[in-house]
Subunit: 330 residues, 2 copies
């Protein structure tokens, strides 16, 4: 007995519409076809509930309308927001999003790239600090926040400019004794420029500053606490402004300062980096350099899907902006 319970195929639509198989195909590929035929095909497809089988199509065309997203995580507010904007930007161009969460594990990251070569995606948008990652330049790849090589386009926020902006703002708000705090993995890609920009301005303006860079996530908080304690004498901190490499760090430092009896922003002003404030709540707020997440996502997608891949930029920096958030005296 012929079990016709399977999903309808083009053949079924062709039979139903009384046209040839090729005609149905053309209709679904927007290839010009006689209007009367087109109508009959559309009607028949609707009646049968026909949907193109993307796997058969992909087999033929070697295009899958799918882009792989490789991210360290999505439970971090910045990465989560980025993933969301990327997903949205891709769906606007009728692309689906294959999500890979790597935990920054180099092995996992490399495996994801292999999977894409297995014909499962048309391109990759990746955020990875893995120094040894092998990226085939023939494979469409856009890197976010990490420069690989001239052949691999990198989209990033203007981290240098953001660092400069933070320093300028703190100085114009009256700070004269600054510090830059940074934690996170050693290979921090473009984000490392934040500190560079900060230093540039401090030197140019002749404002004293110190830089504390910690790579180990675990111990970093203790180091910062010790540093702060060492800079308190007679209950008074001899710093009046701190630029933190991320908002999360800024919020942590803020709590630490309050524990140490320092008032923010009265005694010391704080500026973070990222612009993650979807929490919307008073407690999770800080003055910050806002990354243009939506624009970052849109640009990455545009570059990845660009038809002409012969002359792609190797680095695009997008403008950041300062936003007050209660940890500065505005």
């Amino acid at each position: 007995m012929k079990q016709k319970s399977t999903t309808p195929t083009m053949k079924d639509v062709a039979r139903e519409a009384g046209v040839a198989l090729g005609t149905v195909s053309k209709v679904f590929n927007n290839i010009p076809v006689g209007e009367s035929y087109r109508q009959r095909v559309v009607e028949a497809a609707g009646k049968l509930g026909y949907q193109v089988n993307q796997y058969a199509r992909g087999l033929k065309t070697n295009r899958t309308n799918t882009v792989a997203l490789i991210l360290p995580s999505v439970d971090h507010p910045f990465f989560g927001a980025l993933a969301q904007q990327l997903c949205l930007a891709l769906s606007r161009r009728s692309y689906r999003t294959l999500l890979y969460v790597t935990g920054s594990n180099p092995e996992v990251e490399q495996q994801c790239i292999r999977m894409v070569q297995q014909n499962k995606a048309d391109g990759i948008i990746g955020l990875t600090y893995n120094p040894g990652l092998e990226v085939d330049e023939a494979l469409p790849f856009v890197s976010i926040d990490r420069y690989f090589s001239p052949g691999v386009p990198c989209v990033a926020s203007d981290n240098l400019g953001g660092g400069r902006l933070a320093a300028e703002r703190l100085i114009s708000l009256g700070c004269r004794h600054l510090a830059f705090f940074r934690n996170g993995p050693i290979q921090a890609g473009e984000a490392d420029k934040r500190g560079d920009g900060f230093e540039q301005i401090c030197r140019a303006r002749g404002v004293s500053y110190e830089v504390i860079r910690i790579n180990d996530e675990e111990q970093s908080l203790e180091v910062f606490r010790d540093y702060l304690i060492g800079h308190i004498s007679n209950g008074k901190l001899d710093l009046d402004g701190i630029f933190c490499s991320t908002d999360l760090l800024a919020l942590t430092i803020r709590g630490m300062l309050e524990e140490l009896g320092q008032r923010v922003p009265e005694d010391v002003q704080l500026v973070g980096f990222d612009g993650i404030r979807q929490f919307g709540s008073e407690g999770c707020y800080c003055s910050t350099i806002v990354q243009p997440i939506a624009q970052l996502a849109q640009t990455s997608v545009d570059i990845l899907l660009q038809e002409d891949r012969s002359a792609l930029p190797s680095l695009i920096c997008l403008p950041v902006a300062y936003a007050a958030g209660g940890t500065t005296r505005e």
Copy 2:
């Protein structure tokens, strides 16, 4: 040496290994084959860098090793963490994750489901409050936090138990005048039980309480503020404990209370719901009922991928736990 510019195929491997095509296929499907043959195939595949083409395989088998995730967003800390755990749980079972962000738009949600029927995924894990969503019971679907019908398994936290737990804790911490605050969309699925559990305990213990449920996200904050102001006389709030339906709300209320000159937790204690504290920073912390996100994800995946789909549970509630976080007097 004839270098084929295309990616190597099974045929190439067969030729290289000097075996038949079918033998190669068997090797890659773990079907018993002579060990000497197997070795030659593996070696040839390695040499050529052969990878199975999943699209061809999917065409043949109608299985894609892909699961679609339908979520309202991933920039919300709870959804982000959930997405991450789901992605991880799926990859543990060698499944890929297709991410759909819907913004709770019913049209988008319905379209995602259609896409899966287009043969692009083996199943769906969805978190949607869309009341009119049509879910084909033949299509593997697991719903998180929203009960659809007996044929559609739903995995959720024990929201009722969590609400009870919150009330019990607040009462045991000395509160005698309680309130429950809730905001968010009207169709809140299982999460609505949080308030029910809270009320159960309050009534059972004879503790006075009020319930404020707001559906509109925008106006809700004003309503809560007005409510609080109305309950302050002579600078003193006549409530000593508030249970909020989410951590985000709890943090907002906390900020609001501080603005109104009320101390948390000295004057009034606060308990939220979700357990989102990956921020790790002092400011973004509250006592809360923690949802077992990893377990939620693992259970959803296990149920979705269960071979025998004849006797699936229609609702699974996972245990929650209380965690102190500075907004209660412990």
